[in-house]
């Protein structure tokens, strides 16, 4: 009986003591978390690093690294954030924690515009049967990844699948519908100078382009007709050809500029009007 009670006492002492040690780490974690919640990211990182430094048994390896990663991400320091999300992935204790770390890595890569990397991460998650029940979430971020890599059609398709997000699908569709075909703008101007400018709504530029090309074309051809070969070559080479090529480049430039405006407007809507989860 005495032996049993001594055993119980020893175990209790051990438990209480190790509990006490953990409590101080717990307090430290809560302190770091509260700083993060107050958006004091620099201090949150310091206190999380302090926690990691004194947590010799790595009890808070996942949580502290995750907090540091999130703080860096909130401060737009994406390279540093990625490093700590990878560390939190290494220190994860279950599939849920692993998933959250990997998703955050993908989201940070989207923000960092390393979209190929995030696509690779998200596709590997999609292929993992362990995360079959998280498919919707993975596809949601894949859709965001497509938007940031300028693949609006693919993004629209993925958001439309199983009604993943109808508002995002609508934004993507509007970008696809409003966008100008840059190749069409360029090559149509090869056939009729100024046509590409008309196509992109730049009517005055289109008329000017057409006028110059007609005038210089006439002067060139007229020179050849009147046997002024040298004049024809000079006018054709230095003037007409320059305006002709310039007209096609100009049409392409307008299409690109207009598309950029459309995309920027869509991104602005996403930033200010969209209330769902963002990378």
């Amino acid at each position: 009986m005495t032996f049993v009670s001594k055993k119980i006492i020893s175990i209790s002492i051990l438990l209480v003591c190790s509990g006490l040690a953990q409590n101080s780490l717990d307090d430290q974690y809560n302190y770091a978390k509260s700083l993060f919640d107050q958006e004091k990211y620099f201090d949150a990182i310091t206190e999380s690093k302090r926690l990691l430094f004194f947590d010799e048994q790595k009890l808070y390896g996942f949580e502290a690294n995750m907090l540091i990663g999130l703080s860096y991400k909130a401060g737009a320091k994406y390279n540093e954030a990625l490093k700590y999300f990878v560390l939190s992935e290494v220190n994860s204790k279950n599939d849920e924690q692993l998933f959250n770390s990997v998703i955050l890595s993908a989201r940070t890569n989207i923000l960092r515009r390393t979209t190929q990397q995030s696509e690779k991460i998200l596709n590997s998650l999609l292929a993992n049967p362990k995360y079959f029940n998280r498919t919707k979430e993975i596809k949601y971020w894949l859709g965001w990844n497509y938007m940031f890599s300028n693949k609006w059609e693919k993004a629209s398709e993925i958001f439309s699948e199983e009604n993943l997000d109808s508002s995002l699908a609508a934004i993507c569709r509007s970008v696809v519908n409003e966008s100008y075909n840059e190749n069409f703008a360029k090559y149509s101007s090869y056939i009729i100078p100024g046509f590409g400018q008309f196509y992109t709504g730049e009517y005055l530029n289109g008329l000017i382009s057409l006028g110059w090309n007609v005038l210089l074309g006439y002067l060139t051809i007229n020179s050849f007709v009147e046997d002024r070969i040298f004049d024809g070559i000079i006018t054709g080479n230095f003037l007409w050809l320059r305006f002709y090529i310039g007209n096609t480049k100009n049409a392409e430039k307008f299409a690109k500029e207009k598309n950029l405006t459309i995309i920027n407007n869509a991104l602005e809507r996403l930033q200010y009007d969209f209330n769902g989860s963002k990378p």
Binding site: I9, S10, V16, A21, T46
Partner: protein
């Protein structure tokens, strides 16, 4: 049994020690970790916290080093200067101050501080001389003789530094006047002289072409076109002379830019000749 129980209680007590994250020892340990992890901004904060418990020269020195590492040279100098002459880190802190002054391009102050160090007959006098001599390469003061300039450097360093000395005293500049004159005689030649070959050939061809067009049009009684081509040719000719002078200026600016970069790369690679610290070993 009693011994075992006692052992368990002692071990548990050790285990259970509630970590005091803000004890001076722990602040210092954490600060050292941050310093070695190159998280200098946080390390400075922690070291400054530690200083409120215990004023130590090593900590002040590390704060200064951290400021220097993040490029805040003014605060670095301020902290290096806070070390007393009696400190064992005093002399090395003077060298670190020279490094900061070098980075701030405050060469005259660097010179006078190095002289003070030499008068102290410091162990680091040679390093000070090296930094001062390299600073001559970056300012407009007259260069010392080659012998004096090379004196503090060791055999390996001498080869590179001698080359720097030669480049500084005999820069491979192109004459702006010569470039202009060359282009006035043969259009484009000035640009070729400044190693801007494609522009040189283009200038030659265009000026030649317009001159030819002007000449043939005058010959064939097309005075209007002839004058247009003459004006265009004259414009190209004048532009080519002006462009050659500009090209020589750009060439010289590039020589200066590359030279300054090379000197900085060399001194950075040599870590300002300062021996490595054992703080993070």
């Amino acid at each position: 049994m009693k011994v075992l129980l006692f052992q368990i209680i002692i071990s548990a007590a050790v285990l259970a020690q509630n970590i005091n994250f803000n004890s001076p020892e722990n602040i210092r340990l954490f600060a050292d970790f941050l310093f070695c992890d190159r998280d200098y901004l946080r390390a400075i904060d922690e070291y400054e916290k530690y200083l409120s418990y215990s004023d130590e020269d090593t900590i002040r020195f590390k704060i200064a080093l951290a400021f220097s590492a993040i490029g805040d040279q003014y605060n670095a100098i301020k902290n290096f200067n806070s070390l007393q002459e009696t400190s064992k880190l005093y002399q090395i802190s003077r060298i670190e101050e020279l490094k900061s002054l070098f980075n701030l391009k405050q060469f005259s102050q660097l010179n006078s501080k190095a002289n003070e160090l030499n008068q102290l007959k410091s162990d680091y006098s040679d390093i000070a001389k090296k930094i001062v001599n390299l600073s001559y390469l970056l300012n407009n003061e007259s260069m010392p003789s080659e012998k004096i300039f090379l004196e503090p450097f060791d055999v390996q360093e001498k080869t590179i530094v001698q080359n720097f000395y030669f480049q500084k005293t005999n820069p491979d500049y192109k004459s702006e006047v010569l470039a202009g004159v060359y282009s006035a005689i043969i259009p484009g030649l000035g640009k070729i002289y400044t190693e801007n070959y494609s522009d040189g050939i283009t200038s030659f061809l265009l000026t030649g072409l317009f001159s030819y067009l002007a000449y043939t049009n005058f010959n064939n009684d097309h005075p209007v076109r002839a004058w247009i081509f003459t004006l265009a040719g004259a414009g190209f000719y004048a532009g080519n002379v002006y462009g050659s002078i500009a090209s020589a200026q750009i060439f010289n600016a590039k020589i200066n830019f590359d030279f300054i970069n090379d000197v900085y790369s060399f001194i950075e690679e040599k870590k300002y000749f300062i021996p490595e610290y054992d703080f993070c070993k």
